[in-house]
Amino acid sequence: MNATRLAWVLARVASAAVLLVTWGYGVTALSPFAFDMFVKPRLFPWLESFVTWHHIWFFGAYFASVATLVPIVAAGRKASAPHLRAAWWASISYLAVVGASAASLLVHPRLPLIVGGGHDWFVVPGALVPLLWLSLIDHLTGWPHASDVSGQPVTATSRVMLAALASALVVWAAHSIDQAIGGSAMAALSWSLARSWALALDAAAFVAITLTLSLAAGIAAATRHPVRWEYGLSLVLLAGGIAEFMRRLVFPPLMIDQRDAIATAIPFGVAFASMLAGLRLGTRRERVPVDTGLDLLAAFRGARAVRLSLLVGVPLAAWFTARAVAPVDWSMILVRVVALVEAALVFSLLLESARDWKRSGLTLTLMLAPFVIVLALHGVPRIAHAVTDATGDGRADPERLLDGYRAADPLTDLAAAAFVAQRESDPRFYGDLVEAERRFSTLEPETPETPFTTRRKATETPPHVFLFVIDSLRRDYLSAYNPAVSFTPAIGAWSSDQFVFRNAFTQYGGTWLSMPAIWTGSAVTRRWAGVFPWINALEQLTIDAGYDVVVNDFTVASLLRPDAQRTFLDPEVKSVDTDLCQNLSSLRAHIDGRTSTRSIFAYLAPMNVHLLNTRSGASDTKAEYAGFYAPYATRLQRIDGCFGQFVDFLKARGLYDDSVIILTSDHGDSLGEEGRWGHQFYIRPEILRVPLIVGVPAKLRARLTTDLGGLAFLTDITPTLYGLLGYAFRDAGPGFGQPLFVGAGDAPRSRRREPFLVVSSYGASYGSLRRNGRLLYAIDLVNRKEDAFTMSREPLGEERPASDALRRLGQADILAGLGQVEQLFTSPRSH
């Protein structure tokens, strides 16, 4: 590639990047949830700067794209060929229209005005228009070379089949390296079955693409312009594939409405495919005719040695990229994109190599490949079923094998979604759930007629309250819950004579819903923010009891009452960097520096052990971390020390004996078990289980009883504080938490027989927790997949097929639970 061509490519890529980020920002704003989660917390500082200076960036992108059109414009409208004259007109109109838009943006910047839930047509799909326009120009200048070519052989199916099978093998081998085999014979057998199935699925995906391309070639061959038709059909297929990928795998985790998803995915697919095609035409070394539709896909025409190096380099680069993006990934969107790009590049490289393939003897063998693959697709799961039945060992269960792909092998997961028959689901239930999910996600809660709390004034001076909600803290990493833990001595020592709730859960698998639910002491809908100030029972309590309030919780910070006085600790630290040690240091300074005698209420939600930090941070390699995720244990050990120092500080200041200290987390986490990481989208035991340790002043302790083996929820914390402070938290029925303590003479209320709705904060996953938390039934609505667990084992529970009875009960519980939440926020309350 010469310098001019390289400059052309760089200018085009730079302008496309600006336009795509603009479009991406607009798409994020389509979902209030995505906007609140990714944009408002300022997770990406560069994005904030991009939005602020978008008009300048847009102008720069316009300038860069115009530079690539200079040769066409310079050639003038009097160019000899009609297609070049058309290209000239297209370029001139591009200069005028897109230039006018750029100038308009300089006067009236639009991107900073977009808010969550808003839609600006100028941005979505408007930002894609220049891409399509440039692609049109590229095709007008490059495409006509093909129009004169007739009688070129259409795609040789056997050649593409060879490339497809070789691609499947390369991608499969690259992904297999990452899969641990395991020590036992059963583990090895499960591994073998899983990898055989993965190979069949990968090959099926590539072969399906081959057959689709061949079908397009076949259709094209029947026309008067086979090359032109094949190219066009290939382009349509590419656009359709990209659009479907966006609609099915990118937009649902961002909670973009299904209709918006379709309306947004199609223009994107068309624009992105056209852009790639334009780039392909523009970067060809020579103005050679487009020979087949595959010219679009076979992008590398370098020397054989270069192609071979790339064949090794691409999977390696994909592996490193996937590792790098995983900590900031969202529902595997990025790793799936990486896997798809990897597969496309490998296919592209091998397709080019297959051009030289001359031997025809293997053609028949290659044509048999689809039949062998179909046999494998059917055979492997049957063998896995048989092994499971014979051994009673669930590790070879086909559903579990498939589940393993979801995190570890995104390409196979995509293929499985297309080729593996899902369990036949009850269409009526799913129809009802889709409707309930829509209401749960879009319901704008009504302001309650009365607040959730009563205001019966307590007579005593309230105790100090220190509430530590440590994001993603898993209870099996605390010695109070797991005797194998030796790296949390301070928390262990403190909790030894406190109330350690053994059966505590969050009803929300993610900070976004879990944190507000702690404040309100009740269920919330996904759009809780609009009504939060009216249902924030915990803040009301702090106001009524006259607390000196100290907070560090970014989830609700902007929704706390502006008229109430409070201190926000360490406001200069970004939410993702919030550190318990720093918070406690600031809190100590606040306590020592104040002149007020009011009781202190502190609510801290540090992110030390959140995946965003543990997966990218350093870790120690101490022997005591064996069997634990070391980066997590390293950080936890540090904050354990800070917690211990704070308890000592309270004792030294004479505050400890008059303090309620609560240590909990907003949810658990998957820490690489079975290849899973994070908590955003799954409903699983390790995500729902939380630690909950409540320390109360000794003088109160003798007056209370509780049930440490009974169910406890995070929504119980606020009602519990009401009780401990002598206030009454109204029992408003389903959806509300309840005080965990009763008077010493009373029997604690049992919730063993009640089902409880559990919800993923960020995905359309719902579940029912039954039988004192021993049974969990969960539905992943996006993948139409169900899971059932018994909680017998820490931390993962035991996954098992759902019985028909559990399925029916669980499904009814989920619909009833969602109905209760809806009723809570739509019916006037008279309590």
Binding site: R701, T705, T706, G710, A744, G745, D746, P748, S750, R752
Partner: protein, 93 residues
């Protein structure tokens, strides 16, 4: 005898047996329930009551203490403990 596997059903079954005077079956049902969920304070208490009735004081005490660990200061458990203390004094005489 009916042998269900569910903790709460076992607890209910024990209750029913107890109400009908089938204390041996009730005891067995409670024990099964505790085998499956040792954190069920109410069942510890019910079993302890049955054990007090047949004067198995030592085992009854362990169940009362287990119940008190789970439900500190629970009046019913403290009452039972007092009863056990009285039994041990009586036994010592």
């Amino acid at each position: 005898m009916l042998i269900p596997d569910d903790v709460e059903v076992l607890a209910d079954l024990g209750d029913l047996y107890e109400a009908n005077g089938r204390t041996v079956d009730a005891e067995a049902a409670y024990r099964r329930a505790l085998d499956r969920d040792a954190d069920y304070a109410e069942v510890h208490l019910r079993l302890a009551r049955l054990l007090v009735q047949r004067r198995a004081a030592s085992e009854a005490r362990s169940h009362v203490e287990a119940a008190l660990k789970l439900q500190p200061n629970r009046r019913a458990a403290l009452d039972l403990l007092t009863e056990l203390d009285a039994l041990s004094v009586e036994g010592a005489r």
